[in-house]
Symmetry: C3
Subunit: 155 residues, 3 copies
């Protein structure tokens, strides 16, 4: 099954990729690796899931935000390389969680993104290295930002 | 035009690269990629632009800091690979902005670096993936730290 | 001397790699690069060295934490690729220091990790690019988290 078919099976639809909010591009492919910019929880033209974990959002809501971020990364990847099936491995994620100083469950929030990617790409291609960390603030006040490295099938 | 010629046209001069402040090197080239260490706003032998965005520096000053950091990265790159023209693509930046918890314009600060690199390397080689995030503090109290990945012409 | 022999000479022993605390793997090898997940100071089945620099831990204790994290990364690398000798270069570290907003010596804390890796891999393979930054909080309240990129001997 292609990743696109799996997304459909999950009832998920890729929106057009969020426009870059500044002077950069969504992803750069080079030498078999795809470097994906930091993405936020963007939906229907605006950022959603704003605020800090440990004050404004609970872990479950943070996981939903992380899942939406991962979905947005897929939109950008598809727009960049054409077919998600060209991803031969999810390599590495850096998951930044907008956190109060005493919130220490960034790894649980991050699972919202990791689980979606494993679900879409499967047990061979989906498991990845990752870091989940707390940050005191993010652009636009979004709750989660994620960047990633993906390995591509070089055609 | 070479990147060096473009720098001269912009009236910018590369200083000697800042010495590593600890046990590391400024950049490592491997397999066609150049991984550049986190750099700060260093000038004439000392760090400048200290403090936090949202309290000590405004966005415009933060952009100047980010621009200086990018210039310092170019010094390190040139010292490492000889000619900036060997950079075939700016691939990815991670831009860390020393921020108060309610400052949410890291992406605007980051543009100071992104715009300089696009200006120096041009529209083909300059556009890059990137993440801009807030951090609560940085070494020496500097306002901006940036690390990067660049693709090299492999000779 | 192999890195393993050097570890023995230093009186250091690799423990079994810490289990991933969530939905990810410890490292992914791809195209000659090994991307290692964010690791924490794990020992004998639990995280140690919890708290924030600038309040709960001094620089020297932070360095010990960073050194233990680097040792744990070596456990994961060995479990992933078999022999540490397959590492041909330590490429890049991102060192995240759990910090109070006025603590600005992340680079000194980070040296605890950098020095161990240079000691184990030697002056040819050990020196690396790196970024050391402050973060307001980390998973489980650990004091230091480190992720890394290593170049592998491709067999």
């Amino acid at each position: 099954m292609t990743p696109e078919a799996r997304l459909a099976q999950l009832g998920l639809q890729l929106e057009p990729p969020a426009p870059a909010v500044a002077r950069y591009v969504g992803a750069v492919a080079i030498g078999g690796l795809l470097f994906v910019s930091g993405h936020g929880p963007f939906r229907a033209g605006d950022f959603v899931f704003k605020g800090k974990l440990g004050r404004d959002l609970d872990v479950e809501t943070g996981q939903q935000a992380a899942r939406l971020v991962a979905l947005n990364m897929l939109s950008t990847i598809k727009a960049t390389i054409g077919e998600l099936d060209r991803v031969k491995r999810v390599v590495k994620l850096l998951i930044l969680v907008n956190s109060m100083p005493d919130f220490t469950e960034q790894h649980r929030v991050a699972n919202g993104a990791s689980e979606l990617l494993i679900d879409v790409f499967g047990q061979e291609r989906g498991p990845h290295a990752r870091s989940a960390i707390g940050v005191p603030t993010l652009p636009f006040g979004i709750a989660v930002e994620i960047e990633g490295v993906f390995a591509l099938d070089v055609r």
